[in-house]
Amino acid sequence: MIIMDYRLIEGCRVGDSSAVESFVHTYQQDLYSLALSILDDSNEADDATQESFLAALHALDSFHGASSLKTWLFSITVNICRTRLQKQRRRERLRKILGGILQAAHPPSVEESTIELESGEALWRLIHQMDEKHRIPIVLRYYHDLSIAEIASILQVPEGTVHSRLNTARRQLHNVLKEGNL
């Protein structure tokens, strides 16, 4: 597996189109699924997946195998998703400010739409409100089933920090579930 990854990388480095196709084919579902779980929007996830692949292909020379190829790709995708989340939130703040100034109702954002569609789901409301520092580890742990070491490697923080962020997030979510008798 490792040797196969290596050959794939070498092929992509020199621009071998079949290697690039194989590379995208191998990892696109994983990266899309990661982007979707962070951004919770299929269009945004598509864009983030494209952006992640191109960023990875540009930066292949910097991949030295310190982690697995998948972990390295996840790391790139998480960073791209973080940037997109920050942009989303800036847009959201701006919209709220403008909305306040104009005293006009604004159309709900994608996130708000989702929440409204599933109103009553306090769990999802809290997940959407959580800052990315706590939300991303929860998603990586409980949806992608990654170990603490893998999450630490992707987020480039110590394992203890991952555990601590998970605990904070879990306690908040757990309380919501208990309140809702779930």
Partner: protein, 525 residues
């Protein structure tokens, strides 16, 4: 109530969720939960919550159809432009770097010219040439193909072979200084083997030793001469009186010419190397009472003043012996790592990786294996698997990678094979596999075994006689490996490129006889 508090139990319930508990902790927690109803209810609630969260995530996202076809098309189309844009941007970076160097060179030269009244042109050229050093690194090696042993240099691609010594005497065993400007070597041009220095183009030759005795540059763990102190100011050499059976290890200060006697030893000195911080020198002696019959490894460390001798073997428990005459320095030089063998009852032998902390003479057991441990590097044990035909890199978290030499040899039946592993100073490994059909392969393994890749597309051509691998020498940046092979009929040198494994290395014949000589890579600035 047993060992742990409720608070501790709650913390461990979350630790268990994340797979962070050790086995004893898990057992203690289980015991606590058996005897504490409220904790058990809490644990069950946390477990239930985890399952619920997982189900929620999967329910929400698994139903999504996956990435659109646009992703595949957009990426594969966009990717075709990447090698070109990378080349352009590297070119721009290179050009910008060169321009910056030229401007810097002109500025420096202008200042020097103002101070000395000289022309600035020469210095600009030198600055640009120096900027190209990483691409033109040299390998120094010994060859007697022209009828006399001389020292040659060539580029990593085998081009530009140049005889640096051109002397009728026997010149051999070159070793680059850490700054890549000087080469130390041995020559018998005054009748005895003496140590000399020359600069990188063979000029400015200085004789460093003069006594009527033979002087040799020591060999380190990788079979590579390692006489230079890390700061390049001192050289180690072994001195052997004519007809004597013992040699003595000395340290020479190149500038002051002061010589310090480090160790009176025997001719079976081995693996002499500087610690990375330049404070100590490690070496191996044969501690056997019957040295002609057996080799008993004795590990020693002495400081650069020749004092504070540490006999590593005396730190070991009585059950343990040093397993092989090899060791590694920790990166900061404060400790030495080696493998010991512990003979227990039949079938229960153990191999232990020890780290000797040299300031406190303390031994720390880093890893233990019930199968042969070849070495240990920063948490990864390199062992023979329970299947003896499996080489295994076992990391501290229990994860591992393996290499099956017999698969490399394309054999399906168990058969005898040989292998040799050599670590670079950065911990990466080259694994040399000799197949039963006499094919010879080389593999690269990263220091923790996560990356294992072949360095050849086809085996190094076999010979009509058996070849011995006499040295494997890594370049300082782990990009190239020089391998020498010797037989009674031919000795050859090959260069393996770690970045471009597909290139079949060319053969550089060093001798039409059996030549045991070790090449040396010019350090990358």
């Amino acid at each position: 109530m047993n060992g742990i508090s409720h608070k501790q139990a709650v913390q461990w319930i979350y630790g268990r969720l994340d797979g962070l508990l050790s086995e004893p902790q898990r057992l203690l927690l289980d015991e606590h939960l058996r005897s504490c109803d409220s904790c058990r209810v809490y644990a069950s609630s946390v477990d239930g919550f985890s399952d619920h969260l997982q189900n929620e995530f999967h329910r929400r996202w698994d139903a999504q159809p996956g990435p659109s076809q646009n992703v595949f098309e957009y990426v594969t189309t966009g990717a075709s432009r990447i090698p070109m844009t990378n080349r352009i941007s590297s070119g721009v970076r290179l050009l910008a770097g060169a321009m910056a160097l030229i401007i810097l060179g002109i500025a420096i030269n202008f200042v020097i010219a103002r101070l000395q009244g000289s022309s600035p042109l020469t210095t600009v050229t030198e600055v640009v040439e120096r900027s190209q050093l990483p691409e033109i690194r040299l390998l120094a090696f010994t060859s007697d193909q022209n009828g006399n042993s001389d020292i040659y240099v060539m580029h990593a691609d085998g081009s530009g072979q140049t005889n640096l010594t051109n002397n009728p005497a026997r010149d051999s065993n070159p070793s680059w200084s850490p700054d890549g400007k000087w080469i130390a070597f041995e020559s018998d041009r005054d009748g005895f083997v003496q140590i000399y220095l020359m600069d990188a183009n063979g000029s400015n030759v200085f004789q460093l030793t003069h006594d009527e005795a033979h002087h040799f540059l020591p060999m380190n763990i990788h079979g590579e001469s390692n006489p230079w102190s890390p700061d390049g100011n001192k050289l180690l050499f072994l001195k052997q009186e004519p007809e004597a059976e013992t040699s003595t290890l000395y340290l020479l200060d190149i500038k002051s010419k002061n010589v310090v006697l480090l160790v009176n030893g025997t001719v079976q000195f081995n693996n002499i190397s500087w610690s990375p911080d330049g404070k100590r020198i490690g070496y191996v002696l044969n501690d056997s009472p019957t040295p002609d019959a057996t080799f008993v490894t004795g590990l020693y460390v002495v400081d650069a003043a020749g004092s504070n001798l540490i006999v590593i073997n005396t730190l070991l428990p009585q059950t343990d012996v040093v397993d092989k005459p090899s060791y590694y320095w920790s990166r900061n030089g404060s400790s030495m790592i080696f493998i010991a063998y512990r003979h227990l009852d039949e079938g229960r032998d153990q191999w232990i990786a020890y780290e000797a902390i040299l300031d406190s003479n303390q031994l720390i057991e880093r890893a233990t294996s019930s199968t042969i441990m070849e070495d240990w590097w920063e948490g990864t044990s390199f062992v023979h698997g329970t299947d003896p035909y499996l080489l295994t890199w076992l990391r501290a978290d229990g994860a591992f990678n393996t290499l099956k030499p017999l698969e490399v040899c394309d054999l399906t039946v168990e058969s005898e094979y040989g292998f040799l592993a050599r670590r670079s100073p950065n911990g990466n490994q080259v694994i040399n596999i000799f197949c039963p059909n006499r094919e010879m392969w080389f593999y690269y393994a990263s220091s923790d075994g996560r990356i294992i890749k072949p360095l050849l597309n086809s085996p190094i051509p076999s010979f009509t006689v058996d070849m011995n691998v006499t040295s494997i020498t890594w370049s300082s940046d782990d990009q190239f490996i020089a391998v020498t092979l010797a037989s009674p009929e031919k000795s050859s040198l090959y260069i393996l490129n770690v970045k471009s494994p597909s290139i079949q290395p060319g053969e550089i014949v060093m001798s039409s006889g059996e030549l045991y000589a070790v090449p040396s890579w010019q350090p990358v600035p």
